[in-house]
Symmetry: C2
DNA sequence: TGCAAGGCAAATGTCCGACATTTAAAACAC
DNA sequence: GTGTTTTAAATGTCGGACATTTGCCTTGCA
């Protein structure tokens, strides 16, 4: 492991990059132990504090885990789907909230991705995921549900749709798009009428998946997109008018 | 900012979480300055070293940037698309390499996502991205190109297809899927015959996008998926036989 | 008055040494 | 052999010191 990187960067960043490259490059395998902090500070010729800061950077990216005690140390960590989900969702959410992504753009992306896995979901859907979708639809029909809970249920239903495709890579990729949309969706105030409309479309979608009718699922998703877009535009328009007055 | 988190976690992790939540929650806006390290160590009642380790964790996630000197400090960072791309690709690549994702699963996910944005790409494609696609096709036709370069060009072409949809959220989400596939694709040895086949499919795809024929693009992507899968399976089978003997 | 040079102060970056805590393994007692 | 104790290695935390960077203020000069 060498440091031949950007000399204007912090030492801890250079060291982190050096170790990170070794891990990504496959020089270190999962569960392999890194040298101790003392050894690393010798190798890189920096203080232990600097090495520690570098290791914390890697820990923040879930690249390593640390164990205390004898025969402890830093170990290359197997990145689990769950952790990757979490990081992806955090990054996606921040990206959307910090970059003034329009509701239209996010909405379009979300439904395009969902339509991509709908055919596979129709083909491979399992009873448990269909049950999840039905349960969320039932929850959405309950009066007195808060807008936030309604949105959360909406996300859960769409996650079930994605998971029904039984492709973990696809689930991982779409988790960011779907979950990151939730803060944007939470801005929408759902009337009783619009909830009824959405629940109806959700039912049609679930029926299509259950009946393995990909074309019908595609149509339902298209209509859901159009309706969501319609609701979002109303909210945006109302907000724009309010701020203008 | 309070610490009421998991008491068994490291202090630096708790503090990082506390600040991270404040940022994600929107309590701190972009470019807002965090308290200095000395002030933070007072507030959280820990040493400056611990605060620094926490800040390095946040820096690793691109949540903050630091400036030295007077009126320097740590600032909430605007997460750019480019940084988000980078993190997403790194995470995706590691996830695939560490979790023994089958070539089939990754391939299926990749083409499903690409098909999702093909209709939009047909609708909105611009001359510059069409030119990029043509240029990559031309590059792929050159004899003597290494397998790695051929794969890289393949990725570039598909990235152009995705970008042609002109939806940054979609581009961001798909970047991980497409780029993370490259190491897997690099394992394939391309014969002259298979390159010819792929270039032909790429040309048909580009023609479809140029002619705004979504159905034709969809078909081309389906055939490309089938052919890629075929090539991948051959390689895997040969490898399995080799290791078995 | 205007401007340039230099000093000042605040903040991060780095280093060092010390101690606390955890943990597995070795040593020991029975 | 088994259970207990000791020990050593490693990370976690602390406090202080100094280096470096950088904006700002002062001072001196024209």
């Amino acid at each position: 492991m060498k440091i031949d990187t950007d000399p204007k960067a912090d030492l801890s960043a250079q060291i982190a990059k050096s170790i990170r490259d070794a891990i990504i490059n496959g020089d270190m395998i999962v569960d392999e132990r890194l040298p101790s902090e003392a050894e690393l500070s010798d190798q890189f010729d920096v203080s232990r504090s600097t090495v520690r800061e570098a290791l914390k950077r890697l820990a923040a990216q879930s690249l390593i885990r640390t164990q205390r005690g004898a025969s402890g140390g830093a170990f290359v960590r197997r990145l689990s789907y769950q952790e990757a989900y979490g990081q992806h969702i955090t990054t996606s959410t921040l990206l959307l909230s910090m970059n003034a992504v329009s509701f239209e753009t996010a909405c379009e992306a979300r439904y395009a991705l969902e339509r991509a896995c709908a055919p596979m979901a129709c083909e491979r859907r399992t009873p448990d995921l269909l049950a999840t979708m039905r349960a969320e639809i039932h929850r959405q029909s309950q009066p007195g549900l808060s807008d936030e809970s309604f949105c959360a249920s909406d996300v859960a239903l769409h996650r079930a749709l994605v998971d029904a495709a039984h492709n973990p890579v696809l689930s991982y990729q779409l988790a960011g798009a779907v979950e990151a949309m939730q803060p944007l969706m939470n801005m929408i105030t759902f009337t009783a009428r619009s909830r009824e409309e959405i629940v109806g479309l959700h039912s049609r979608l679930t029926d299509a998946v259950e009946g393995q009718d990909a074309a019908k699922a595609d149509t339902a998703l298209h209509e859901l997109e159009a309706y969501t877009l319609h609701l979002g535009r109303d909210v945006m328009a109302a907000r724009a008018q309010k701020s203008g007055s």
